[in-house]
Amino acid sequence: MGDVMTMRDVEARAAVAGIDLSNLDLDSIQLPPGEDFGIISDDEDVYQEEQLDFDTGFGNIIVVDHIPIVTREKFEKLEGVIRKIYNQMGVIKEDGLWMPVDPETEKTLGYCFIEFNTPQEAEQAKEKTNGYKLDRSHIFVVSMFDDFDRFMRVPDKWAPPEIKPYAPGENLQRWLTDEKARDQFVIRAGSDTEVFWNDARQLKPDLVYKRAFWTESFVQWSPLGTYLATVHRQGAAVWGGASSFDRLMRYAHPQVKLIDFSPGEKYLVTYSSHEPSNPRDANRIVINIFDVRSGKVMRDFKGSADDFAIGGAGGVTGVSWPIFRWSGGKEDKYFAKLGKNMISVYETETFSLIDKKSLKVESVMDFSWSPTDPILALFVPELGSGNQPARVSLLQIPCKEELRQKNLFSVSDCKMYWQSNGDYLAVKVDRYTKTKKSTYTGFELFRIKERDIPIEVLELDNKNDKIIAFAWEPKGHRFAIIHGDSPRPDVSFYSMKTAHNSGRVSKLDTLKGKQANALFWSPAGHYIILAGLKGFNGQLEFYNVDELETMATAEHFMATDIEWDPTGRYVVTSVTSVHHEMENGFNVWSFNGKLLYRILKDHFFQFLWRPRPPSFLSPEKEEEIAKNLKKYSKKYEAEDQDVSLQLSEQDREKRRAMKDEWEKWISEWKRLHEEGKLERQKLRDGEASDEEEEYEAKEVEVEEVVDVSEEVSFEYAS
C-alpha cells in the first residue's frame, strides 16, 4: 500500500469497489490508532533505522554464556538441561539451540545460542535467566545476539566525548512574558491540534500555532507549562516555546499509551502495554522514565500486568495510571508505586529503592503524596474480619518514620484529599452502619503543619447524606462538599478556621437543592463553580465563597469538562465528542460567569490551558498586591478602556467596509439587471412589467356582506 496511487487509479479502484467517491467524506475517515497504511509521517524517518534492525536482525536469538564446559559424552545431557530451562520461556525454534564445540578438544565452549519464535520471548528469556544459578560456579550471563554487535563496536580506547558548541535555543519561558498577560491553551479537534492565546479583551482566541496530525492520540502540557507532549507510535515527543513549538526532544518507546510528567517536569514516565504471545498470560507492560531534557532513559520497568495491578490483596484487575506517583514539590526527589502488601519508594538520585527495599505494609489499599512535602498518607483496610482496625497513617520519607496514625472502625472505603499547599489532609471515610447494610460518610481532617498533627472528625448535619463531591480551596483553608440525594443535592462550605478559635473546623453555609455534581474551585481560590455536568445537562453556578453569594448562573448545554485558566481569571466549559457528538466546542467565561465567547468545532477532543509555574512572589508580597489592587489595576483599566474603544472603532470600520462592499455588489447587480431588461422583456413576450423586485403592496379594502338579519326587540314598560 505504500506506493502512491494517482487519482485516476483511485477512481478506477473505487469504481470497481462500487464506491461513489463524491459521496465519500474524506474528512470523516480516520485511520485506526497505531495504523498508518504505509503512509509515512515525517517523524518516522529517524525511528525507521531502529525499527528495521528489529525486524530483520537477530532479535529473537539470545546468547547464554557461562554454561558448563563439557565433553562430548555429556553434551546431550547439558543440551537437555538447557532446553528444559528455556522451553519455559517460550517456543525454541526447530534447530534453534546451537552449542558450538571446539573441534580440537571436542569440548563445548561454555556458551550457546538459542533462537526463539519471537523477539518478545527472547527478551523475556534474557530478563528472566540473566544471572540464573545453574550451580555455584555457573551463573548464566544472557545477552541478546543483537547486542553483540554493539558490544563489539565499543572502542578499546576511551575517547573524550565530542563537545558540541552551544547552540542558543528559544527561551522556553517566553510565553509568560506576553505583554497582555494572556494565557495559552491547546485544543484538539479532528486531526488538527491548535495552540491559541486566550484574547479575552478582543473576545476571541488568537492562533499561535496549528498543525495537523501533531499527535497520534493526545497532547499534554508539562505541569509547569514549559513543554507540550505529543504521543506517537514510536514514542513521545516534547515541543516548546511561545510560538514556534519546535521539537525539543524525542523519547523512543514503541506503542506508548500513556505519559506522565513529574511535578517539577524533570522526568517523563511513559507506559505501554503489549499483547502477550501466549493469550493466557497477562499483558506485558513496559515503563520508561526519561530525563526530559537529555532524553536519557533513567530507569525502565518491565513485567506482566499483574505485577503492576494494584489494590491490596484482593487485586483490582487493571493498572491504574499513574502507576508511579511523584512526591510533591519541584525537586522531583521521590516517586512511589503501590504493590501487593508494599509501597515501593524510589529516589531520583540513583533511581533505586530507598534503603534498597520496599516499604512493607500489609494489605495497603491506597496511598497519596502530600503535594508539597515528602510525606506519604496511606490507607490500610480492616484485617482479620474486623479484629484489626483500618488505619490511615502519615509517613515521612526518606526516614520512613510514622508521623501520625489514626485507627478507624467498620470502614468500607477511604479516600484522601490533600489541600494544595499540603496544609491539610481530608480523609473521607465510608463506614458501615450497625446492620452493615448501608454506609454513611464522615471526614477525618488532619492539620499537617501544626504540632503533633491534630485530627478532627467532621460529620455532616445529616449523617446519612451521600457525598457526591469534595474539593479543597486551592491555597486556602476552605472546602466544599456536595452531599445529599442526586436530583437536587445540597452544597456546603466549611472553613478550617473559626473567627475566635482557629483550631476548629466550622461550617460557613449550606446551599439547598443545587443541580450540581462537580465542584471547580478557581485556582486562585475565593470563587467556585458548582457544575451539573452530563446528567444535569451542563448547569453552571458561579459562586463567591467570600461573600457567600451567587454571582451568576448559566448553562452550557451538555458540557462535559470545565477547566479554569491557571490564573483564575477565565474558565472554559467544553463539550467533547468523547461523550456527546453534537454541539462540540467550548465556551470561555469570565470568573464571574459572563460568557465571553464561544467556539464550535466538530470532533472536538481536548481543551487544555497551558499551566503556569508558581509565582516567585512571596505570600506577603502577594497579599500586599491584593490589598492595593486598586492602585495596580488603574493602569490596566485604562488599557482595557483603550482596547474596547479601539475595538468598537475597528468594529465600526469593519461594518462600514462590509456595507460598502455590499453596496458595490448591489449597484453592479442593478446595472446588469438594467442591461438585461430588454432581453427579459422579450423572454416574457413583451410583458413590460419589470418590477418584480420593486414589489408594491396595495391594500384593497373589500367589504363583503356576510349576512343580514333583522331582529325585533320589544320593550315592556313595567
Binding site: 461513489d20 467517491l21 463524491s22 459521496n23 414589489y695
Partner: protein, 326 residues
C-alpha cells in the same frame, strides 16, 4: 409574532413556494399531495392529486396559472393551478427532484436523481403555451456531477443553469451549449452536501445551505463567494428576505437522531442573520422536527417554514421586526 399552524400534510414537508403576488403558498411534502394555501390567513385552497410518491419541489408560473412539481414517483407534472387538474406528465427513469420555470415560463428544468445505473441529470423541457401541444422531449440534458443534485435553478436571462447537490460543489452550466462554465472553489466552498439553494428576487445572487452547518451567498454571474453564515446545525433550508437585508437558515440535526436527543439540543429554529454583517439576529422556534423548507412572502412581511414534523408555520412579522438594529 403568533404563527399560523397549517396542518394539511401527513408527512414531512419538503418545499415551499409563494406565487409572485404573494397571495398563494404552495407546499410540497413526502405525502403525495402538493397543497395550495391562502398566504394571508393560512386557509387551505386545495390539493393537487395525482402523484404517487414524495413530492420534492414545485414552481409556479409568473401568471400563477401553471404549477410544476417533481416527485419521487419518477415524474414531473404540470398542473392547472385554478382547477387542480393535471395538464401533463413528464416521465423519467429515476425520481425527479428539483423543478424551476425559466424567465418567461417557456422552459422548465427538472433534475433527476441517480438511480440504479443512471447518474443524476438536469433536463430542460419546453413548456407549450397550450397544454395540448406539450411534448416530453428534452431540449437539453446536462450530466456530470457525482451524486444527487438537490437543487437547480435558472440563471439570469436563462443563459445559465445553477446546480448544487451532494458533491458540495455549485456549478454553472451554459444553457446554449450544455457545457460547464464554472465550479465553486472546493477550498472556500461547502465541505459537505448542499441541501438547498435559493435565488434572490432579481436573480443576481443566491444562497446555498449545506450539511456542513453553514450557508453561503454567491454572485450568480461570477460565482464569487460573497458571504458565509455559520450555524450549529446542518442547514436544510435557506431563504432571503426580499425587503430587508436578512437571511433565514432552517435545519436541525438529522431526522434519524431526533428521538435520541433533548428538544433543547435539537435547535429546530429558523435563524435570522444579518445578510451583510453575517451576524445572527434572532430565531423563531416552534417546530418539533428539523426545518426542511423556508420561503419568504415576496412582500417580505411574512415567511413560512415547513418541518419534518409535517406542519407549515406561517409567520407574519411584528412591526418591531422591521426596526431591528444591530
Amino acid at each position: 409574532m403568533r404563527p399560523i399552524l397549517m396542518k394539511g400534510h401527513e408527512r414531512p414537508l419538503t418545499f415551499l413556494k409563494y406565487n409572485r403576488e404573494g397571495d398563494l403558498l404552495f407546499s410540497c411534502a413526502k405525502d403525495h399531495n402538493p397543497t395550495v394555501w391562502f398566504a394571508d390567513n393560512g386557509e387551505r385552497l386545495g390539493t393537487f392529486r395525482g402523484h404517487n410518491g414524495a413530492v420534492w419541489s414545485c414552481d409556479v408560473s409568473r401568471d400563477s396559472l401553471q404549477l410544476i412539481t417533481g416527485s419521487a414517483d419518477q415524474t414531473a407534472k404540470l398542473w392547472n393551478v385554478k382547477s387542480g387538474n393535471q395538464l401533463y406528465t413528464f416521465n423519467f427513469d429515476s425520481p425527479a427532484r428539483s423543478v424551476d420555470f425559466s424567465v418567461g415560463d417557456k422552459l422548465a428544468l427538472i433534475t433527476t436523481d441517480p438511480f440504479m445505473e443512471l447518474s443524476s441529470a438536469i433536463h430542460v423541457k419546453r413548456i407549450a403555451r397550450d397544454p395540448a401541444d406539450q411534448s416530453g422531449k428534452s431540449v437539453l440534458v446536462l450530466k456530470g456531477p457525482q451524486g444527487r443534485i438537490n437543487r437547480a435553478v435558472w440563471g439570469p436571462l436563462n443563459k445559465t443553469i445553477i446546480s448544487a447537490g451532494e458533491d458540495a460543489v455549485v456549478r454553472i452550466w451554459d444553457t446554449e451549449t450544455g457545457t460547464l462554465l464554472k465550479e465553486s472553489d472546493r477550498e472556500i466552498g461547502h465541505k459537505r452536501p448542499i441541501t438547498s439553494l435559493t435565488k434572490s428576487t432579481d436573480g443576481s445572487h443566491f444562497i446555498t445551505g449545506s450539511v456542513d452547518k453553514s450557508a453561503k451567498l454567491w454572485d450568480t454571474r461570477s460565482l464569487t463567494l460573497i458571504k458565509t453564515y455559520v450555524t450549529e446545525r446542518p442547514v436544510n433550508a435557506v431563504a432571503m428576505s426580499p425587503l430587508l437585508d436578512h437571511v433565514v437558515l432552517g435545519g436541525g440535526q438529522d431526522a434519524s437522531a431526533v428521538t435520541t436527543t433533548d428538544h433543547r439540543a435539537g435547535k429546530f429554529e429558523a435563524k435570522f442573520y444579518d445578510k451583510i454583517l453575517q451576524e445572527e439576529i434572532g430565531g423563531v422556534k416552534g417546530h418539533f422536527g428539523p426545518i426542511n423548507a423556508l420561503a419568504f412572502n415576496p412582500d417580505g412581511k411574512s415567511f413560512s417554514s415547513g418541518g419534518e414534523d409535517g406542519y407549515v408555520r406561517l409567520h407574519h412579522f411584528d412591526p418591531d421586526y422591521f426596526n431591528i438594529k444591530i
